[in-house]
């Protein structure tokens, strides 16, 4: 197990290195682009361009340029945004709590609802409810999340805002938990639901397929032959095995969402998290911010993947390579 952890961690470091190289190549080395002009934002003066060329070592060899960029991003953490004249890394750190609040709440909703839907569909197999639940899940998968968010806004902020149902919904935006726990909850309620719908659909479908597959396993037949109740077979034997797939998928998706995948939801609901920061810098073409959010987001995801793999190997000895 220890060798597995060591090998997996080495691979993680290697992937992180490869990601930084890939980002570096994308932003600095694509033929036909001038990195100084890219970093400077809109309409830079010649002086700024020269300063940037010097600061990022653009007149020096490739490895030096790479090392300088990495130093700015991780060691001195003084990467500047030339559009807003602020340091990028502290800005990302300040935006992180909003993203974490959004993703944690949505994850809680999607796990509970997806398990309920998947199990219900598998148990109700042969009735009309099973295909009905699966069609609902499929519709959830087929909706673009930013569009769903706009429809939700249309209903809760405008069309039905004055009805008793939605009059409690605050205007768009994020209130931090320390400022007002109630405001935090109210403001995030609909973003949570919107973000979780895609994952509810996806997880319910995977779980149902998995449950039905496991129904045919020998150990399930044994459990039935022992005379266990259907309920006990389902909860203790079938669902428990399905959870292996479920948990590993969950780890990956959770990592992706915290690492920037919640971007679209944040934009539609004006939640000022890391994704919103990326979006703002997209509209300003503020390259240093985009670079930093991409690298930090990707790092978080790679780290989450590693933790999932190690946890998975801990749970299931078959995964561990000899």
């Amino acid at each position: 197990m220890l060798t597995f952890i060591v090998r997996r961690s080495l691979w993680t470091v290697l992937v992180m290195f490869a990601i930084t190289v890939l980002v570096f190549v994308i932003f600095f080395k694509i033929p036909g682009i001038d990195p100084a002009r890219q970093i400077a934002g809109r309409n830079p003066s010649p002086q700024i361009l020269t300063a940037i060329r010097h600061e990022f070592g653009l007149d020096r060899p490739f490895p030096v340029q790479y090392a300088l960029m990495m130093k700015k991003m991780f060691i001195s953490r003084d990467l500047m945004s030339y559009s807003t004249s602020t340091k990028v890394i502290p800005e990302i750190a300040a935006a992180a709590p909003a993203t974490l609040s959004l993703v944690f709440g949505a994850a809680l909703i999607w796990v509970v609802v997806a398990i309920a839907m998947g199990v219900a569909a598998a148990v109700l197999r042969g009735t009309i409810l099973d295909p009905l639940l699966m069609i609902i899940a499929l519709i959830g998968i087929s909706m673009p999340v930013f569009w769903l968010g706009e429809v939700v806004n249309l209903v809760t902020q405008s069309r039905l805002h004055h009805s008793f149902l939605f009059s409690w919904v605050p205007p768009l935006g994020y209130t931090s938990f320390t400022q007002s726990p109630v405001g935090w909850f109210k403001g995030l309620f609909f973003p949570w639901i919107t973000l979780s719908i895609l994952y509810i659909g996806f997880y319910a479908r995977v779980l149902r397929a998995n449950l039905l597959e496991i129904q045919n396993e020998d150990y399930v037949r044994t459990a039935r032959a022992k005379g266990l109740t259907e309920r006990r077979v389902l909860l203790r034997h079938v669902l428990r095995t399905s959870m292996i797939t479920f948990v590993s998928l969950f780890g990956l998706d959770f990592g992706v969402l915290v690492g920037g995948g919640a971007l679209l939801t944040e934009v539609v609901f004006a939640i000022h998290g890391v994704g919103f920061l990326t979006y703002q810098s997209l509209t300003n073409l503020d390259l240093p911010v985009i670079m930093a959010t991409v690298v930090y987001g990707a790092f978080f995801i790679v780290l989450a993947n590693t933790l999932v793999d190690i946890a998975y190997a801990g749970l299931d000895p078959r995964v561990r390579p000899a």
């Binding site: 992937v15 490869a18 990601i19 890939l22 980002v23 994308i26 932003f27 694509i30 033929p31 036909g32 682009i33 002009r37 890219q38 499929l138 519709i139 998968i141 087929s142 909706m143 673009p144 999340v145 930013f146 569009w147 769903l148 706009e150 429809v151 806004n153 249309l154 902020q157 405008s158 895609l198 994952y199 996806f202 479908r205 995977v206 397929a209 039905l212 045919n216 998928l249 998706d253 690492g259 920037g260 995948g261 971007l263 679209l264 934009v267 990326t278 979006y279 997209l282 509209t283 073409l285 390259l287 985009i290 670079m291 959010t293 991409v294 987001g297 990707a298 995801i301 790679v302 993947n305």
Partner: protein
């Protein structure tokens, strides 16, 4: 992003063991086709998808001959006739706040601003149809390019193994470790800000071209197709008939394309509709973030984005293209499930058990 491909990493269709007399002597493809034809829901989904494709590609016809509008030219001072009254397309002080200009809403009269106008006085219905054309071209194009390149790479890696396999697979691992939206955002911003566009050899892409998002989206999904297919190639390459081919002195090309490819192609076909669904959603998201399709072109994503400022006064500008996306992606997902059930021998279990 959750990709709906995880369940389909299964071996290709092979003749089921319980060959009934009526189906013996038919090719697996004929059997799969028959299974698919019997699946009414999947066929209905296919028809819906084809209808959307036909309507989108008939966009110029609609704009020129039915609505008589040009949906790419601003029409701020335009007028139209409703109930015998000539009214301007952009009305002063409409909407809830009675401030600024508000475009006319849906008339529900086909050929006369059916879905209303947007803030530039352009016909929303015609734009949605044109937008569908871009979205479908990019979605289908990138999914096909992605599947073809990934399959070729997977065949090369799985057949030759060794160093080639190691290099290709590690490269794919790195792309895979990169979250799709962040990778797309990085490439798109870098390319869109490049003044002269991207030139790789004879290939020249400018920012306004639909090829740019197509290539980006095809690239980011490569590993999602490459990984399952490479695994399959590895196992097929071990089979006795490939060994027999080697013993007979067949060339590498012949072994790859005549022996191995036919055995993995069904898996690619299963992946394709689901990939198109995924790429259409990705395109709409990138366009919504203004890093996909660039003006003057429109796609469903850009129209939703344009309609954001009109959301509370003229919601149909945003709602209509979204409904088109949902219908298209839903149809593709349902059809894709049908194709999988038809080509996958284990589907029998799923349908009857």
């Amino acid at each position: 992003m959750a990709i709906a491909l995880t369940e389909s990493a299964e071996p290709p269709a092979q003749a089921p063991e319980d060959l009934a007399p009526e189906i013996s002597g038919r090719s697996p493809w004929a059997l799969a086709g028959r299974r698919l034809r019997r699946n009414r829901i999947a066929l209905a989904a296919l028809v819906l998808f084809l209808l959307i494709v036909a309507a989108s590609f008939a966009a110029p016809l609609y704009a020129n001959d039915v609505a008589h509008v040009n949906p790419f030219v601003n029409n701020l001072n335009g007028t139209t006739v409703i109930n015998g009254h000539r009214i301007p397309l952009l009305q002063q002080g409409g909407g809830v706040l009675k401030l600024g200009e508000t475009p006319i809403g849906p008339t529900w009269d086909i050929g006369n601003y059916f879905l209303g106008a947007d803030q530039n006085g352009r016909d929303v219905m015609a734009r949605v149809l044109y937008g569908g054309r871009s979205s479908l071209e990019i979605g289908i194009g990138s999914a096909v390019i992605c599947c073809v390149i990934a399959t070729v790479l997977a065949l090369i890696a799985g057949y030759f193994r060794g160093v080639i396999d190691a290099v290709l697979s590690r490269l794919m691992d790195v792309i895979w470790a990169f979250p799709v939206y962040l990778l797309a955002i990085s490439i798109a911003t870098a390319l869109l800000t490049a003044p002269a566009g991207l030139s790789i050899g004879p290939l020249h892409l400018v920012a306004s071209s639909l090829w740019l998002p197509t290539v980006i989206i095809a690239f980011i999904y490569l590993p999602y197709v490459y990984r399952p297919i490479r695994g399959n190639v590895l196992s097929v390459a071990e089979k006795e008939f490939v060994q027999a081919g080697i013993a007979q002195g067949a060339s590498d090309l012949r072994l790859i394309f005549s022996d191995i490819l036919p055995n993995v192609v069904s898996q690619v076909i299963v992946l394709l509709p689901l990939m198109i669904a995924t790429t259409i959603l990705t395109e709409s998201a990138l366009s919504f973030l203004s890093i996909g399709v660039q003006p003057p072109n429109a796609s469903w994503g850009t129209i939703i984005s344009d309609g954001q400022s009109l959301l509370y006064t003229r919601p149909w500008v945003s709602i209509a293209p979204g409904i088109m996306i949902v219908l298209t992606v839903l149809a593709l997902n349902v059809f894709g499930d049908g194709v999988r059930d038809a080509l996958d021998p284990r589907a029998k279990l799923r349908v009857e058990g």
